[in-house]
């Protein structure tokens, strides 16, 4: 998938007219190509605007992990030649059968292992003690997937993943703010809406990566102030 291919199919992609395979390839290319991404972003703003944040119902870390894994798969797809994607498509039913057979084999293996273990316990006259020598460390990183992939790919997906974490936190606060908004008077609603429009625009125009993360942090700070302060002398702009 080249930049030329992507530009040619961008309109169809934004219209949702591409098939799944082609759509994934375009999306994967966009993830790794800043100029094409900028072009896509501009076009999408022209079409329907990016005026609202995505509503994310699952917990933020879970959603980030899912989206990152999808992104990685798409980047990998974009790097593969077309004939390999087609062959991979043919191979999916076969792979499914293979996975099913593999699952049966693993289940049988576990059953046999359990039977052998119980037999050994009976022979030794004492229960087997399970030793948890390596308790897994809880990785609180928003970008930990637990899936083995090359470090270069992990580093490439890190900025997007961090941005998604900030976006998810902002979306959570946005829901809280909208819940409170119904109880405000018209003047306060108008001030909130105007300020929210500003911080949203800042997010939309900020380039991907640290600038966008910074814009999200400003949005989070604003929403935190709005949702935690009611009738304070210090207003949503801060202490002074």
């Amino acid at each position: 998938m080249t930049c030329e291919d992507t530009q040619r199919e961008l309109t169809s992609y934004l219209d949702g007219e591409l098939d799944v395979d082609r759509g994934r390839a375009v999306r994967g290319h966009l993830r790794g190509c800043a100029p094409c991404r900028t072009a896509a972003h501009s076009e999408s703003i022209l079409r329907d605007g990016l005026r609202s944040l995505p509503t994310l119902d699952p917990p933020a870390p879970l959603w980030s992990g899912v989206r990152r894994r999808l992104a990685e798969a798409e980047v990998a797809d974009a790097r593969r030649p077309r004939w390999r994607r087609v062959v991979a498509g043919w191979g999916r039913p076969v792979r499914g059968l293979g996975l099913a057979l593999g699952g049966v084999a693993i289940a049988m293996g576990i059953a046999v292992w359990h039977a052998m273990e119980r037999q050994m316990e009976r022979q030794q006259g004492q229960p087997t003690v399970a030793v948890l020598s390596s308790v897994p460390v809880v990785d609180r990183s928003p970008c930990s997937s637990g899936e083995p992939h090359d470090v270069a790919l992990a580093l490439a997906s890190e900025p997007t993943c961090v941005t998604e974490a900030y976006a998810a936190a902002a979306a959570d606060l946005m829901r809280t703010a909208h819940g409170q908004r119904a109880q405000w008077d018209n003047d306060r609603r108008a001030r909130f809406d105007a300020q929210l429009d500003k911080v949203r625009r800042d997010v939309e125009v900020a380039p991907e990566g640290r600038p966008r993360q910074s814009a999200y942090r400003a949005m989070i700070r604003f929403l935190q102030r709005v949702t935690t302060r009611d009738g304070m002398l210090a207003d949503a702009r801060g202490v002074r």
Binding site: D139, P148, L155, A169, R225, T227, A234, G238, R240
Partner: protein, 318 residues
Amino acid sequence: MIGDSRGRTVAVVVGCSAVLGAAANADPRPAVEERSRLEVQPSDASFRQVTLDNPLGDVRVEGYDGTAIVVETYKRAPDGGTIDRLRVSLIPSADGRLRIATGVVDGRDFRPVTRSQVRVDLVIRAPRNARIEASTAGGRLQVENMDAGGELDSSSGAIAITNVSGQLITHSVSGPTSLTQVFGSVDAATLWSDLVLDTIGGPKLVASATMGKIDGRRVRSQEIELTTTGGAIVVEAETSVRGHLVVSTLQGNIDVRVRRRGPVLVRARAAKVNLGPRVSEVQRQAGWSTAIVGSRSDPAAVVELQSRYGVVQFAIVE
């Protein structure tokens, strides 16, 4: 790349370099280690800013009274081929800035390794008056003994700042952040981790966490603003004349102890408010409990406390 320098303003002196190899075995920990040390001397003006981007490990910056920047690099990887993929770039500029960045060479010819199998740690000694801009991903970010502030960012790595003055900005998604002996304007933010503040002074302190708690001790900034969404806020602060202390949270509890210098106007609103035994003549109006401690004729410091669903506890400590 180490020693990859641009510009004529900087001379790079290679101190020493050692490669320590170990036989690869079944142990999943990195088996090859490479250490190097560089000393970067300014030729014209002194260094005024150091920018560090290390998504592969820890960063530790120590201020000292010299003029050179000393960069110690510790690389670890499963094998020699992979360690060669790990790069550290030094990019000096003519206006006194130095950028140090780590990265991985990408390509299909390399053996794939996961992120946990490789590591690059950086230890930097920098002139005290250089501003520090540093970022890590999961690595720890430590800055000590600097005088020109900076901006520090981590994804999930802990941020630990000690004995720093100047304007300081820190942000982290899920790395616990601790600021100790920081003097200057401070802006610290985390999403899902705790924030510890100890001995903070200066014109302004703004700190926030969404799902983390804020714990402050010996906070003496003129303007203090602490905010959480879901975490508790515990702070022991000293109010200054005409100062402002704003503590607000959505769901957490608030526990504020104030050492006052001059009169204090306290306003609090929460599911339950306790202003302590030293505060009398509390007026209650529209959900707010308000009281003035000390002389009403002098300008007062303002303390505002609000928890929508939690408890507010306040006390004057003489």
